[in-house]
Symmetry: C2
Subunit: 359 residues, 2 copies
């Protein structure tokens, strides 16, 4: 066992040393740390990191151990990319659109308004050009990315009053996950990017007027229905947001090939398992929320149309000014067009029929 | 290395001996054979077995090798369950509804008319009771099942003439995948269960009047549009058919725990990858088929309604006569009801909007 390859309880110096270590052997013990952007109270969003780490441990016979850490334990909620790039941690789990301030291109691999739905996002990653193109983007910051979770189409957030037309959006201070705020602001709202663990307090205090997080299951846990009872759909800015496992490229390169393959498959397992959790648990949570007073409303068509128009205008502007955005978005948009044409036939007509009959 | 644990080029006697072998060590070499129900010409349906085997090999550092075999090489297309049960092969890949003649309960873990869609099926398996309940069912035949692929909602097959009303179904001899034939027959059709590799010839010769297989990408490869140009949707009998990896329980128990976990995760990777392949490749193939003369038509409402009514009646009859069906179907139907209620809000309104705008 190579002494330099063992990172048990290592501080930053120890972790950095690993990056330079030669490939360890399959029998070597590996100790990694993972930092998550998500609160530990959420068994879905934080739990996906635990599922990933457990699978890695099982497949390696306990020899590859990854400890998971919540926001603030090692680095802040929105510090995962910097920490992974620097090698402060070997890996992290996040929603890449949190980092749109560094570069809006981060958002394409997560969710952009009027983007791909969950299945389409996974398809573009696994069998389209999505993973290849986003890996080129991340290579510039010493990170390799793996799809690791999707929430499905999200709800449109909790509002103190029902939004009945586009005019009602004006001046509303709305917590939303990063990049989508750019579109919200173009239709008159004011965006706030606040970590999940701090939203309830901001909404209760009135620092913000409305807030979106994910969907019924997580939103119920965070208690938003107690302070804002109008629950909008669809969350048009997040039709299928993908979460990522980010791994420091030097740490990854130092692993034996077996462990590299194990990390890829464990992320795939966690990816699929997370969507499954939402698809089971949201169904039950929605019923409870309605019983507890949540009032569902659908965003009016003028809101959807104005947001769609502004989103497309924003993407054109970004394509003109940002070559990384342009390269990835063009491929993404081509697949989005073809996929929606195909899904319109058998998927949509099957689903719509099933939603129309008494089951 | 335990001599009894190595099954390289083993005949039936060698394979059976393995079942009795003590657990091998992580370093031991394992050689397994997988038989598939699907033609080797299909890189999706047959390819999923190859993806699975490749991942197992990578994660085990080449020490766990699974060779894949097409129909007829070791056993016939519809002989996979018997072969896996007997230990003739250690594992197999199939669409369980092919075995509805043994017990209709097989079909629930694959697809039944007006059943779960792809995401819902995975959700019921991973986070609902689906895997637990179907594993109880398979335990009685010395098989452990793993979700390993889904095609998404299938098309409604290739017809020589457009079906304009329920009356047009009468007397049509239609190739369909197993259990769904029971519903087709209740609305006046005649069902034929023919392996994928033999459909084209039957359709060309006129032995059958119409045939469904999967969707644009596979159907194009098999060339059906050349002999029957009307292409129906939705394939209401297959809203999200799941394929399974079936493993002989003794062979599985004889593996070290690391390899057991590797097999589970490799199946999960292949499961997700296969749906991604369809979601990318169907989109492109549909355009080519239409350019080559395929004429799309939607099943009329009276066909959908009659089939739905007969399907529900059939499920009630089966629940009254078959305890295994009753136990699994009740749980499945409860989740189907809740899931469709939930998907109706944000998923459906998001998708429908995206399908309505110019992209």
């Amino acid at each position: 066992m190579d002494r330099r390859s063992v990172i048990k309880n290592a501080g930053i110096a120890g972790v950095l040393a690993t990056g330079l270590a030669p490939a360890v052997h399959a029998q070597a013990n590996v100790r990694w740390r993972l930092t998550s952007s998500f609160p530990k109270s959420l068994d879905t969003l934080y739990g996906v990191s635990e599922v990933f780490a457990k699978k890695v441990s099982e497949m390696s016979g306990g020899k590859c151990q990854i400890t998971t850490h919540g926001p603030g334990e090692l680095v802040p909620a929105f510090g995962t990319v910097d920490a992974t790039k620097a090698g402060t941690v070997e890996c992290s789990h996040t929603a890449p659109y949190y980092y749109f301030g560094k570069d809006p291109t981060f958002a394409i691999g997560c969710a952009i308004p009027f983007g791909l739905n969950s299945r389409q996002m996974t398809a573009w990653m696994y069998d389209g050009n999505g993973l290849k193109l986003t890996r080129e983007f991340y290579a510039g910051m010493d990170i390799i990315n793996f799809p690791c979770g999707n929430t499905g189409a999200q709800m449109g957030g909790w509002w103190r009053k029902e939004i009945k037309s586009l005019a009602d959006i004006k001046g509303q201070k709305f917590r939303t996950g990063g990049f989508s705020g750019k579109v919200l602001e173009r239709i008159g709202g004011i965006a706030a990017n606040i970590p999940g663990g701090e939203i309830y307090q901001a909404l209760e205090k009135g620092t913000i007027d409305a807030a979106e997080w994910v969907g019924p299951y997580d939103d119920e846990k965070l208690g938003f229905y107690k302070v804002a009872s109008y629950y909008a759909y669809p969350g048009f800015w997040e039709g299928g947001p993908q979460l990522d496992l980010h791994v420091n490229t030097k740490a990854f390169a130092a692993l034996p090939k077996e462990y590299q393959a194990i990390i890829e498959a464990a992320a795939a397992f966690a990816h699929t398992n997370m969507q499954a959790q939402y698809d089971v648990r949201n169904a039950a949570a929605l019923k409870r929320l309605v019983a507890n007073g949540a009032k569902l409303f659908r965003f009016p068509k003028d809101v959807m149309d104005a947001a769609f128009k502004e989103a497309m205008a924003l993407y054109s502007e970004l394509s003109a000014s940002n070559p990384a955005w342009k390269k990835i978005y063009e491929d993404y948009a081509n697949y989005r067009r073809d996929a929606n044409l195909w899904f319109r036939f058998t998927e949509a007509t099957f689903d719509n029929y099933m939603q129309s009959v008494k089951l």
